[in-house]
């Protein structure tokens, strides 16, 4: 069940969002797509067609928006999405070396799913933690001051932790951030 491509894609999951008042307008296309990507992890062709039917927006129009913004993916991703910063501060501090380390550890290139189904990495431009460069973000947690060894170790650590948890169903999500008070 690593990537989910064999599973049936359930259109109903998106329905509550689409039926919200005022959401079903052209002005909210980006929000609808973001929600869909949240639910399915990427934007499956069936879902794009479904959105077109439900909103009356032409499929070509939807596609033009999807391909314009880097956030939207047409391919599934691994369980953990790694955003590797390639911003200026990170570039100056050696982010290309970190990319090499990630590739070596995962054995795949940008945008592809690692063989164990756990990771996909994408290059992004700046995640706003420049003073800790080089930086990567996994889920909603940022890791700073990376070296080749540290990056590899973080990925291995997450891999081991999640494989160990595979059996124990329904664990609370690690590293969630938000409620600070």
């Amino acid at each position: 069940m690593a990537c989910g491509c064999a599973e049936r894609i359930d259109e109903e999951l998106l329905e509550p969002f689409l039926s919200q008042e005022g959401i079903n307008a052209k002005g909210n296309l980006i929000a609808i797509l973001q929600k869909a990507q949240d639910i399915y992890g990427y934007l499956p062709a069936e879902i794009l067609a479904y959105i077109a039917r439900r909103t009356g927006i032409k499929p070509a129009k939807i596609m033009s928006v999807v391909t314009f913004y880097t956030q939207f993916r047409l391919k599934p991703v691994g369980k953990n999405l790694i955003l590797l910063c390639q911003g200026t501060a990170c570039h100056v501090n050696g982010s290309t070396v970190i990319e090499g380390a990630i590739q070596d550890t995962l054995g795949v290139g940008e945008g592809d799913i690692s063989p164990d189904g756990l990771f996909t990495y994408n290059n992004v431009a700046c995640i706003g933690c420049c003073s800790l460069a080089p930086v990567m973000m996994i889920g909603e947690k940022a890791y700073g001051g990376l070296t080749k060894a540290k990056a590899a170790q973080i990925l291995k650590g997450i891999g081991q932790e999640q494989e160990g948890r595979e059996g124990q169903e329904g664990q609370g999500q690690a590293g969630r951030e938000g409620a600070a008070v």
Binding site: S131, A133, G178, V181
Partner: protein, 583 residues
């Protein structure tokens, strides 16, 4: 008495959440203090930072602890309980305490001081007083006049006078008007807006509310980068709190004034920071810019008059209303008033967020506030303004921070990103880096930007790969001039700036690459030569085993040598052995 932990994204990345949890979990029923989260104080290089604020008579004495590990949390708790502890090991060094000294905190006045998720803490520091003054005691015209006196100009990059835009939107015909906050922060290498929103979201909201009152808008929108999840969460909470207090909604403060704000998450496109593209994106379209005029103040969101300002611009507004425009105008230079927030990063010893009065010099910031270069290397240049800006060489370090003097160097003030570079940074590679970025981010609407920048990138690629040709620099220059002239929006018009400034100040590096096939910064791989010093080589054979290109030959216990034809410059041998030198 209380303990605060800096929980901005940077603090969290350094481990502040674990520290916070340990502190909170270690609290005893008998403790007379609480543990609170704050935003980023700006000294990111010291994260995680914990403050113990003790009330001594009428004063608060703050003890700051830095680079706090989860294990150290227990020591800090002991310290707060007045018990003997090891906390002193983590106490901030006196020279670091001084970092805040050279600053002028206006937009950042509350960052790192208050709990950003508490409207009460914001209000305890005169928050929303300015808004109340405006709505209850000033006419919109008076508000705009105050901003005019202050001389505030837009902090998003272009530096356009804020009052002028407000006035135009106010004067534009029509009932339906909008306030937009630009929190797209596209400059890769900058984080002012993120830290501001995470550290003091109410200041941004209050600025927007005052703007709404001044121009007569009923609806506001904040366009935030999707890469800033924490900022989005904190804005959402702040909005809820403001609604509960009746600061947003219908008939605010019993007046005939209604206003509310929505958050819109961006979807990752640099060009959406440009105001007309941002508006297209808000409308659910591809974020393509359009020709101005008409300006958004006349025809913006839904073709209605809209005022769009940057996060930091709005954060300055409440202070200006409270302290008076004249107090703001008293700071700075002839044509740049107030203070500016900068995100210091790159090869800087004390990276982080600083706010300095306009008129300080680049050296003041790099050496005075930033503590100079990491590892004691030589300061080479500072990049300001991101992909639209340029590299200012160390020799111009006494340039004043002022819109005009900075523009005269070929760079721009920009939104506040300052990436510091040292001798190990190759300036040709930096130019290539930015061009690669703009090529990927060009929306493709106009030819000069879409095709022209790609051609420039190809030339820079070949120079860095050792295939540069004589005349390439002039070719780059000619292309740059044409792209600046022919592009539709400011993305294309400014994209060549990083190339032009590096040619202007570092032409010799281009020539080294092209004519001598040398990269003096030792960065461009294809221009490096690896050699083994046969006096130092002990013939351990390790390098030969590791070399993926099979380029190293030699017998056990005899000096090895690298076959330059086969070497693919991966650098593995130099990393593992000091006998390998790089030229």
């Amino acid at each position: 008495m209380r303990i605060t932990v800096g929980k901005g994204s940077c603090g969290i990345a350094a481990g502040a959440s674990e520290v916070f949890d340990r502190l909170e979990g270690g609290l005893l029923a008998s403790d007379s203090f609480s543990v609170t989260a704050t935003g980023c104080i700006g000294t990111c290089y010291l994260e995680p930072i914990v403050n113990v604020e003790a009330d001594v008579e009428a004063d608060t004495k703050v003890h700051t602890f830095v680079r706090v590990t989860p294990a150290a949390a227990a020591e800090i708790l002991k310290f707060a309980r007045n018990l003997p502890s090891d906390a002193g090991k983590y106490a901030i060094a006196p020279e670091d305490l001084d970092v805040l000294g050279g600053q002028q905190r206006i937009a950042l006045r509350n960052c790192g001081v208050i709990n950003p998720e508490s409207i009460d803490e914001y209000m305890a520091r005169q928050g929303y007083e300015a808004y109340q003054t405006c709505v209850q005691a000033r006419t919109p015209e008076e508000v705009i006049e105050e901003i005019k006196i202050s001389g505030l100009s837009g902090r998003g990059g272009a530096g356009f006078p804020t009052w002028f835009k407000w006035n135009a939107a106010r004067g534009a015909p029509g009932e339906e008007k909008y306030i937009i906050c630009n929190a797209d922060e596209g400059d890769p290498g900058a984080f002012m807006d993120r830290a501001l929103i995470e550290g003091d979201p109410h200041a941004v909201l209050e600025g927007m509310m005052i703007a709404a009152y001044a121009i007569g808008a009923r609806e506001g929108m904040i366009y935030v980068r999707a890469e800033y999840p924490l900022a989005i969460i904190r804005l959402g909470k702040a909005l809820e709190q403001a609604r509960e207090k009746g600061l947003l909604g219908e008939g605010i403060m019993g007046r005939d004034f209604s206003f509310d704000i929505r958050i819109k998450a961006g979807a990752g496109a640099f060009v959406c920071g440009e105001e007309t593209a941002l508006i297209a994106s808000l409308e659910g379209e591809r974020g393509m810019p359009r020709i101005r005029p008409p300006f958004p103040a006349q025809s913006g969101y839904r073709r209605k008059p809209s005022n769009i300002n940057n996060v930091e611009t709005y954060a300055n507004i409440p202070w200006i209303i409270r302290s008076g425009g004249a107090a703001f105008a008293a700071m700075g230079t002839e044509n740049s008033k107030g203070a500016k927030v900068f995100a210091l990063a790159g090869k800087i010893a004390k990276g982080g967020l600083v706010e300095v009065a306009m008129g300080k010099t680049i050296n003041d910031v790099v050496y005075g506030v930033g503590g100079g270069i990491t590892g004691g290397k030589a300061f080479k240049a500072v990049q300001m303004g991101g992909p639209s800006g340029g590299c200012i060489p160390a020799s111009l370090g006494d340039t004043m921070i002022d819109y005009r003097t900075l523009a005269a160097t070929g760079a721009i003030m920009g939104s506040g990103g300052m990436v510091v570079m040292d001798e190990s940074t190759c300036m040709v590679d930096i130019a290539r880096f930015f061009l690669d970025f703009t090529c990927k981010e060009s929306c493709g609407k106009c030819t000069h930007c879409r095709v022209g920048n790609r051609r420039m990138l190809e030339i820079l690629d070949r120079i860095c790969d050792g295939h540069g040709q004589e005349g390439d620099v002039d070719l780059l220059y000619n292309l740059a001039v044409q792209i600046k002239d022919g592009s539709l929006c400011a993305l294309g018009q400014t994209a060549p700036n990083p190339v032009l400034t590096t040619i202007r100040y570092f032409r010799h590096e281009y020539e080294d690459h092209i004519l001598h096939k040398k990269c003096t910064a030792h960065h461009c791989k294809q221009l490096l030569t690896y050699t083994i010093d046969d006096k130092q080589c002990i013939g351990c054979t390790m390098c030969a085993l590791e070399c993926a290109a099979n380029a190293i030959e030699g017998r056990f216990r005899q000096a090895h040598a690298i076959d330059q034809e086969k070497c693919d410059k991966c650098g593995v041998c130099a990393e593992m052995c000091h006998a390998v030198s790089v030229e």
